[in-house]
Amino acid sequence: MRRAAISLAMLCMASAASVGRAASPVQSYTADPPASRLDFIGIQAGAEFKGTFRKFTAAIDFSPDALASSHFDVQIDLNSLDTMDDDRDTTMRGPDIFDIAHFPASHYVTRSFTKTPAGYSAAGTLSLHGVTKEVPIDFVFVSTPGGAKLEGTAKLNRLEFGVGQGDWKSTESVKDVVKVAFSLILKPKA
C-alpha cells in the first residue's frame, strides 16, 4: 500500500513535470520591424558613432524554460545601413569596408544558451564579409502582453572579418572593436 502510494506520488510528479514541459515549449517569434532596432557603434577618431541597420529579419525561438531547444536566426541586409551621413554610408557599402557588391548580407545563428546573473548569454556564429566567426551575445528577455522584448549587446573585432581593407585596415581612425546593440520587439509567429 505504502509502496503504491509512493509510486503514485512519483507518477504524479513525473506527469506534472511533463505537463510543465508541455506548457512551456519553445515559443517562435519574429521581430516586428518598425519597432525593433539593430545598431552598431564604432569608434571613429576617438568618438563613438552609431549606425543602424534598417532591414533585418530575426527568427527567435526562445523560452527561458527550454534553453536547449531555443534558437536565433538573424539575417541582416547590409545595404540598409544608416549612419546619418551619406558619405559615410556610401564608403561603408563600398569595396574597402562591407563590400556589399560581394557580401550583401550578414547572418547570425546561435548554437547554445546559458543563463547569466543579468539574463542570458548565447554562443553563436556571425557570418560577415565572407568570414564566419564566433560572436557571443548577452541579452535579457522579457515577456510582454503581446509577445516579448529582447535586448542585448555583442562585441566584435571588425578586422577579424576583413571589414576594413586598404587604409581602413589601420585602427588609427576607426578602432577595431565594434559594439552591436539590439532591441527587438517580438511577436509570436503565426
Partner: protein
C-alpha cells in the same frame, strides 16, 4: 592696488593666449583646406580629428582669455588715434572674440548634426549639442565656411593694422603684444 601705474603692455598671460590662439587658427586653416578636397578616408578623418581637437582647444582658451581680460584690462590705445581708428580697432577686436566662440561652436554643432561626435585628442568625447539632422548640417557648414572667410579677412586687417602702427605710426601697439620686447612710450 590703486597706486599701480596704468598698464602699458599686455600681461604675459594675455600675450601667451594671443600667440597660442593665433598659431592654432593658422593650423586650423591649413588642416581645413587640406581636408576639404580629400575623399572620405582615413587621411581626411585624421586631419578633421586634429581640426576638431584644436578647435575645442581654441574654445577653451577663448573662455580663459575673456575671463583674464576682464580681470586684467588691456593697455589703452595710443593717444594719437582718431575716433574712427578707435572704433575700427574696437570693432575688429569684438569681431575676433565673437569668432573665437562662433567658429568652434558652429564646428561642434556641425559634427553633432552629422553624427561625427567631437573627441578631444582621443581623451574624451564632447556631448552632441543637437540631434543628427542633414538640413541643419548643411546650414551650419555654410555658416562655418562663411565665418572662416570673415575671420580670414579681419585677421589680415589686424596684421596690417599692427604693422602700420609699428612702421608708420611708430607706436608700441605691436610691441606691447610681443614677448621679450620692451615697449617704447608710443603715445
Amino acid at each position: 592696488m590703486p597706486t599701480q601705474e596704468p598698464r602699458t603692455r599686455f600681461t604675459a598671460v594675455a600675450q601667451l593666449l594671443h600667440w597660442i590662439i593665433a598659431t592654432l587658427i593658422v593650423t586650423q586653416f591649413a588642416l581645413a583646406w587640406t581636408a576639404r578636397d580629400l575623399p572620405l578616408g582615413t587621411h581626411k578623418l585624421a586631419l578633421l580629428a586634429w581640426h576638431k581637437s584644436f578647435g575645442m582647444t581654441v574654445l577653451m582658451l577663448a573662455i580663459i582669455r575673456v575671463v583674464w581680460r576682464r580681470a586684467n584690462p588691456p593697455p589703452e590705445l595710443p593717444a594719437g588715434m582718431t575716433p574712427f581708428e578707435r572704433t575700427l580697432a574696437r570693432a575688429t577686436h569684438i569681431a575676433f572674440y565673437a569668432l573665437l566662440f562662433a567658429m568652434p561652436v558652429t564646428g561642434w554643432l556641425m559634427s553633432s548634426a552629422k553624427n561625427y561626435s567631437v573627441s578631444w585628442f582621443g581623451l574624451f568625447t564632447w556631448p552632441d549639442l543637437i540631434a543628427q539632422n542633414k538640413t541643419a548640417f548643411e546650414a551650419l557648414k555654410t555658416t562655418h565656411d562663411y565665418l572662416s572667410g570673415v575671420l580670414l579677412v579681419i585677421a589680415v586687417f589686424h596684421i596690417l593694422a599692427a604693422l602700420k602702427h609699428h612702421f608708420w605710426n611708430k607706436d608700441d601697439v605691436l610691441l606691447r603684444m610681443l614677448p621679450f620686447t620692451k615697449s617704447k612710450r608710443g603715445s
